[in-house]
């Protein structure tokens, strides 16, 4: 880039993390099998743990536990494994903090989580995913949403977004990063939505 302007070259897509191949198998499995369970997992954790401010951390603990295990050997039944780890973590936390919670040890079967039943077909998933993405955008602060939509939907570069919104490019980057984080959280977690509209 010359000094006249500063367009950093935009990559169309981020390439895979580029980690070693042993880990990349676990990464692929994790993205494919575990991440889609986040909404259910959050519901499960909220049932067992009343303190909402801990729930995101608990979720991360579950992810780290599952991910660590997958690097040794990839579990056959993803769903059952994830919720087994989640239950262990909850039980451990309850023991450590000496809290009694009936719900925490609620039967997994009761929640219908223990089995890996076949999911909906691909096109239904695609439609549902688009709907969830839209819902996530709807719930995002305007500045972040604008940056995300201009980048993802309209394919604009950062300088172009900066030009359109009349803000600095560094600010565009901040909005995009915030938007990326918010999009993932809102995409996976419809709890705010339900509470917000009830």
């Amino acid at each position: 880039m010359t000094k006249t302007s500063d367009i950093p070259s935009e990559r169309p897509e981020v390439d895979p993390t580029g980690m070693v191949s042993a880990a990349s198998k676990a990464n692929a499995w994790f993205v494919r099998e575990v991440l889609p369970l986040e909404n259910l997992l959050l519901k499960f954790l909220r049932r067992g743990w009343r303190n909402e401010s801990d729930v995101r951390d608990l979720c991360q603990d579950v992810y780290v536990g599952v991910y660590a295990a997958a690097q040794v050997e990839i579990p056959v039944y993803a769903k059952a494994f994830v919720f087994a780890v989640a239950r262990n973590i909850l039980v451990e936390r309850i023991r450590r903090e000496q809290i009694v919670s009936i719900e925490a040890v609620a039967d997994l079967e009761e929640l219908g989580l223990a089995t890996d039943e076949p999911g909906p077909d691909k096109s239904a998933i695609a439609r549902q995913e688009l709907r969830r993405l839209q819902a996530a955008l709807d719930r995002m602060p305007k500045r972040w949403r604008e940056a995300v939509v201009m980048r993802k939907v309209q394919g604009m570069s950062r300088p172009e977004i900066a030009l359109r919104l009349g803000i600095a490019e560094a600010t565009v980057s901040q909005h995009l990063a915030a938007g990326m984080a918010a999009l993932a959280t809102l995409f996976h977690d419809d709890a705010d939505d339900q509470r917000g509209h009830s």
Partner: protein, 325 residues
């Protein structure tokens, strides 16, 4: 797994914010090997970092589905008034912070021109608000005027491909030196050379107005496959076979296509895209012809082929590649 060291710290949020910053930075381009090393270090620090990154990257890739949104839906997102609770809170904060901040963000800095530039070997694509697209080739400077009336873009140097959404109410004009190209609904390529301007039209039509210093203006309407050259007020138009004309756009795919191209011309073309220059040492060799499709940065492959095909000697000095007898 280990219980949290400090359960009061919202570590998930910290990991997520860091992961978002990395994802954004990687996507921004200009990613160096030093950046990659820093990134690798960060990933290695904790599996929490890895899962946070994978999680954001996954949803960010899924968000590509949003491209299938139609225009009205998209517009709704850009000018939405349906504020979430979070947004309302943010708005209250903004008002509390005061009018200074507000002024900066509501009125963008003076309506000055935006300048876009690429370095040697770089390409860049821009999308304008009306859906028009501009692709900048290597070593190019382009100025987009933000004024009212006709949309004016100035090609200061280099080459750019234009795919313009035609609007009869608001003409799109590419200026370069004294010459200008007026879009009449079209896809076209404009290349500024030191002594002439070259315009090739691929779809629709465009008008080229050529004007030399003190000379009367000459105009021509160009149709698909027309290639026009304007030099000091004179204008000439030729029709190229579609394929040949399209070879001039191979850079958009990162390639260079040669057909019976002299070594001198091929070297000059490679040198537009690379810091490491090809120097043809001998006048006779310079006139040898070569053909083929090459990656624009694949100087090594090109010189290897020139060696095998044309028998020229290839010497790599580290900064240059010298072709000699």
């Amino acid at each position: 797994m280990n219980p949290a060291e400090n359960p009061t710290l919202p570590k998930a949020d910290i990991a997520q914010a860091a992961a978002a910053a990395w994802l954004e930075r990687r996507e921004r381009g200009s990613w160096t090997s030093a950046d990659q090393a820093d990134f690798d270090t960060w990933l290695a620090q904790s599996p929490a970092h890895v899962v946070a990154y994978l999680r954001l990257e996954d949803v960010w890739a899924r968000a590509n589905r949003l491209k299938s949104l139609d225009r009205p839906k998209m517009q709704r997102f850009l000018s939405a008034t349906r504020w979430s609770r979070v947004t309302r809170m943010a708005a209250v904060l903004v008002l509390a912070v005061g009018a200074g901040w507000w002024a900066i963000h509501t009125y963008p800095s003076a309506p000055q021109d935006a300048v876009y530039a690429t370095d040697v070997g770089q390409r860049e694509s821009l999308q304008l608000a009306d859906g028009s697209q501009i692709e900048l080739n290597t070593d190019t400077v382009l100025r987009v005027s933000r004024g009212e009336g006709a949309k004016t873009v100035t090609l200061v140097k280099g080459e750019a491909y234009f795919d313009i959404k035609h609007n009869a109410q608001r003409l799109f004009i590419v200026k370069s030196g004294d010459d200008r190209v007026v879009d009449l609904g079209t896809k076209f390529l404009v290349r500024r050379n030191t002594d002439h301007l070259k315009v090739a039209v691929f779809e629709g039509s465009a008008r080229l107005d050529a004007k030399g210093p003190g000379a009367a203006m000459q105009s021509a309407v160009l149709m698909p496959d027309d290639v026009a050259v304007a030099s000091g007020g004179t204008l000439s138009v030729t029709r190229k076979p579609s394929q040949t004309a399209r070879d001039d756009m191979a850079w958009r795919r990162g390639e260079l296509v040669f057909r019976y191209t002299t070594l001198a011309d091929a070297a000059a073309e490679f040198n537009r895209y690379n810091q490491k220059k090809i120097v043809v040492r001998d006048a006779q060799i310079a006139q040898l012809e070569i053909g083929g499709t090459f990656g624009m940065h694949d100087v090594a492959q090109f010189s290897r082929l020139a060696h095998h095909l044309l028998g020229v000697q290839v010497t790599d000095t580290g900064t240059d590649i010298i072709l000699s007898r």
